[in-house]
């Protein structure tokens, strides 16, 4: 009897074996390959890479397969792997102005240098189930054209030229960029750490927070100044060589929100920025991140902090889904001894309550 209430090594082993069996699914169905996941569930791979903070499509696909499609579990797997990797250094800041753009839209201007490029998007599709996809479908090849050589300047840079929007903050070579995976977070946190936190943050959490700012909980009057998707080269300054060497290209989604700002006694009225960036194609995440980034600048811009999305301690302490899921799910662990202590207290308080009801003296009722 006593043994039956405790877990055991064999129980765990058998549970994991059963899990592996369930993950595989019916043996007559072909096993899904990592290439299939990376190619055909590409947006899932992008999300796992972004919130897992590791750009590796193959490992992200493996994590998704192992996690049976549970995104947060997959993100967790990738994070735990990443935590053991040695750190060689920090790349040269990316120049998204030099992105090889596949999609670029601005909701602020009808037309602009480089034009509007729709690219691969769910926007303007009708959300009707396509039953052709039930079986293997034949998909016509996309139409193509020559890649444009002309630069595609960022909308925010065009506005900044007229001082209508605050300048993009410049990197200070003397101050290393913060890294909350290497240094414990403390508050108040500067924008570099806030952006890192948001980039790793849960898409659903940031979506809801961003949404709340649109519904009046800390309004920021945003315009989607620009969203761009494409490939950017990463350079790494090699101490040995003495110059920056290209490491390769990664796919990024960047969102620059343009927000109203009335100015202050010292600052003329001009637009402010909210910034979002993620690995792969992740527009919802990048836009939500940009909204929340702008909200979290309330302190810096002298705005009253009254809504959840403006409260950096609240947002940053609860945005990480790996932390959140761990702590919520830890309630599954045994709490026998604490519950036992509470049981004792409730019984004592009930005895006191009943004694008081029947008019007996209190002291004798206590255990």
């Amino acid at each position: 009897m006593y043994v039956a209430v405790k877990g055991g090594e064999r129980a765990i082993e058998n549970a994991h074996r059963l899990l592996a069996h369930e993950r595989r699914g019916h043996r007559t169905v072909p096993e899904i390959s990592l290439v299939q996941i990376a190619e055909q569930l590409a947006l899932a791979v992008d999300r796992v890479m972004t919130e897992g903070s590791l750009y590796d499509r193959e490992l992200a696909a493996l994590a998704i397969k192992q996690a049976r499609g549970d995104m947060i579990e997959a993100i967790f797997l990738l994070r735990a792997f990443r935590a053991t990797l040695p750190r060689f250094g920090v790349s040269v800041p990316l120049d998204t102005g030099k992105m090889q753009v596949r999609r670029r839209i601005s909701a602020a201007f009808k037309d602009l240098p480089g034009g509007q490029v729709l690219g691969p998007t769910f926007d303007y599709t009708h959300r009707l189930l396509n039953f052709d996809l039930e079986d293997q479908s034949s998909v016509p090849p996309p139409s193509t054209s020559e890649a444009q050589d002309s630069a595609m300047p960022r909308v925010s840079d065009l506005l900044a030229a007229d001082d209508l929007i605050e300048a993009s903050p410049q990197a200070d070579a003397g101050t290393p960029v913060g890294d909350l995976t290497r240094e414990p977070l403390s508050f108040p946190a500067e924008r570099d750490l806030r952006l890192q936190n948001l980039a790793r943050g849960d898409e659903g959490f940031l979506l809801a927070l961003g949404y709340s700012t649109q519904r009046g909980y800390g309004r920021t009057h945003p315009f989607a100044g620009e969203i761009r998707l494409g490939e950017v080269e990463i350079d790494f300054f090699a101490e040995d060589a003495g110059f920056a060497v290209p490491l390769g290209r990664i796919t990024l989604t960047e969102c620059q929100m343009i927000n109203q700002f009335h100015g202050s006694a010292a600052v003329p009225p001009r637009f402010t920025r909210g910034y979002g960036l993620g690995f792969g194609h992740c527009e919802r995440k990048a836009m939500s991140m940009a909204l929340v980034d702008r909200s979290l600048r309330a302190r810096e811009l002298g705005e009253e902090v009254k809504a959840p999305a403006q409260d950096e301690e609240f947002v940053m302490s609860h945005s990480d889904n790996v932390q959140a899921t761990g702590f919520v799910e830890h309630l599954k662990l045994p709490h026998y001894v604490d519950f036992q202590s509470e049981l004792g207290l409730v019984r004592m308080m009930r005895a006191e309550f009943q004694a008081a009801q029947s008019g007996e003296p209190l002291a004798e009722a206590a255990e």
Binding site: G7, G8, A11, I12, A80, R182, P184, L333, H335, Q340
Partner: protein, 279 residues
């Protein structure tokens, strides 16, 4: 594909050095919560990642490790963590409190007195004793800095005013070395007196909250109370059904659906040893 090669006890040496520095600082300032750059571990946050990181950083090849959860060596999470270190560090493991050099625990302190050559590592979910009175870290750090613990005393006083006694049964706050108010992790308050003047080093790791704190050996630890309402240990008034102990913390086990129940030692090693000695 990149095949991972893991270091002794999983963590890389740089990370261990960072954690050891935090531990040294924690030992130097008893009861003070030292921030550290907690890593993602291969088990979920809230499931002992703080304790696991501390254990991984202090473990040597000659150590003998014991892991308990709710006082027992055979609860699932204790089995899982013990196995983790058996695989990644290859250290000897034991269920004997007496034999172990490092004991990682969740929610209990072993019944057997600990020795100077032992280290007790606690898994901590919420390291901040003031958290449920003040949710903001910026505020609670200020309160600790100023030793401004009035809020905690007001809470305990209100318990007495409303209930006639302090209504905290586990994670009962303590003051360490006359300075910092500290959360003992959710151990039942029955265990609080064992923390004081303990011969073993006590280390506390909170992974998700990124904090490490410590009680050095032979340090004074006082459970908060009032002169007219002194701290009281809670223990179910009875004996262990299996070993007859009348001084150990007891788990209640429901034996049928007609109200049947029995009480047994939560510390399985303590209980087994007593039964072995009696036989």
């Amino acid at each position: 594909m990149n095949a991972p090669v893991y270091n002794f006890a999983y963590l890389d040496e740089q990370t261990k050095r960072m954690i050891r520095r935090a531990i040294l600082k924690a030992v130097a300032i008893p009861g003070y919560q030292v921030p550290f750059a907690s890593r993602e571990m291969p088990m979920p946050f809230g499931w002992g990642t703080g304790g696991v990181q501390v254990t991984a950083s202090i473990l040597g090849p000659d150590d003998i490790l014991k892991v308990i959860d709710q006082g027992a060596d055979d609860t699932t999470n204790a089995v899982s963590i013990r196995k983790f270190f058996a695989v990644t560090a290859g250290v000897r493991t034991t269920t004997s409190t007496n034999e172990a050099t490092v004991i990682q625990t969740r929610h209990r302190i072993p019944e057997a007195p600990l020795r100077e050559d032992q280290i007790l590592v606690y898994q901590v979910p919420i390291p901040e004793p003031l958290r449920f009175l003040e949710p903001r870290e910026t505020e609670t750090r200020r309160m600790h800095a100023l030793a401004d613990y009035g809020l905690m005393h007001v809470k305990l006083y209100e318990d007495i005013a409303v209930h006639g006694h302090i209504a905290t049964t586990y994670a009962y706050p303590v003051k360490v070395d006359d300075r910092y108010v500290m959360d003992p992790s959710p151990t039942p308050k029955f265990d609080n007196p064992k923390m004081s003047d303990c011969a073993a080093l006590q280390l506390f790791g909170a992974g998700r909250e990124k904090r490490i704190y410590a009680i050095p050996p032979f340090t004074k630890v006082v459970s908060l109370d009032f002169e007219d309402h002194p701290f009281e240990r809670y223990r179910h008034d009875g004996e262990c059904t299996l070993c007859g102990a009348d001084d150990s913390f007891l788990d209640e086990v429901i034996t049928d659906d007609r109200g049947g129940r029995m009480f047994v030692c939560s510390d399985t090693d303590f209980c087994e040893k007593r039964r072995g000695d009696a036989a």
